[in-house]
């Protein structure tokens, strides 16, 4: 395992088509962790458009873990991404607080044009649900396990 102590990011060699990154629960580590992840195979083979969609989903979930699951204590977040044919299968694990009621937020958003006061938040789960498929959540012991996939059909 290659550990980069400065950023708290570690990166391990996995079978072809899989990348695994572990990062610390703060926003700076999310930024550098995403940078690291997208510089690795198989992410480098994604088209610009797919890359954008995947980065939005990952960033929103990571921000959510940092701000909510690890609101009371810090910890690690593991991201494991596997490319199989035209889908990325993604698994994210943390040991923070469980989701309230054991379920993922619905992520509903109303039309901002109709809002009396424009929303400054609440976009996160809406974007996650919009850009991902087969989203699942499990609490196993002290772990939150999130799974989903994203179609990357247009990759070059």
């Amino acid at each position: 395992m290659l550990a980069e102590r400065d950023t708290g990011i570690s990166h391990s060699l996995e079978p072809a088509g899989t990348v695994r990154v572990v990062l610390a629960s703060d926003h700076e580590s999310v930024r550098s962790g995403l940078h690291h992840l997208f510089a690795s195979e198989p992410m480098t083979s994604l088209s610009e458009e797919s890359r954008g969609a995947v980065e939005i989903v990952l960033a929103e979930i990571l921000n959510n873990v940092v701000e909510h699951a690890y609101a009371e204590f810090p910890g690690k977040i593991e991201i494991c991404v596997t490319l199989r044919e035209t889908y990325l299968f993604i698994r994210m694990v943390d040991t923070g607080l469980p989701m309230p009621d054991g379920e993922l937020p619905i992520g509903r958003m109303s039309d901002p044009k109709l809002a009396r006061d424009l929303p400054e938040g609440g976009f996160g789960w809406f974007l996650i649900r919009n850009l991902s498929q087969d989203l699942t959540y499990d609490r196993d012991g002290d772990q939150n396990i999130l799974g989903f996939c994203i179609s990357v059909d247009d990759r070059h």
Binding site: R31, I56, V66, P112, K113, L118
Partner: protein
């Protein structure tokens, strides 16, 4: 968060020099922007040509800046890159802001 700003005619033209507005930089972005737009001008345009990535915290910060402009000015945006444009389109925030493909005619990049 680095921003360049310049008064050009009735506009304040602001350019983001960083390549992302994310949760790590959103608060600083909001504070810097509020400082810049506190100066009087008829119109404010944010040139986002350099921004390749925006998350929901960044979007929230841009909405907050728009609100800080008060009822008489709207925040105009220019040069949205594909991923940034996607976030605006999916959240339907593209209907709330004035969005220019490139800087309005006669304006040049700030800085």
């Amino acid at each position: 968060m680095k921003l360049d700003s310049e008064h050009q005619g009735e506009f304040i033209v602001i350019r983001t020099l960083d390549d992302r507005i994310d949760a790590a930089g959103a608060l600083q972005f909001k504070e810097r922007m509020r400082e810049i737009v506190s100066e009087p001008s008829e119109r404010v345009v944010l040139d986002m040509t350099n921004v390749g990535f925006l998350d929901s915290s960044g979007l929230g910060a841009i909405v907050a800046v728009m609100k800080a402009l008060g009822p008489l000015r709207r925040l105009e945006l220019s040069g949205l890159t594909p991923t940034v444009e996607k976030v605006f389109r999916l959240t339907r925030m593209d209907s709330v802001f004035i969005i220019h493909k490139t800087l309005p005619e006669g304006l040049r990049h700030a800085g």
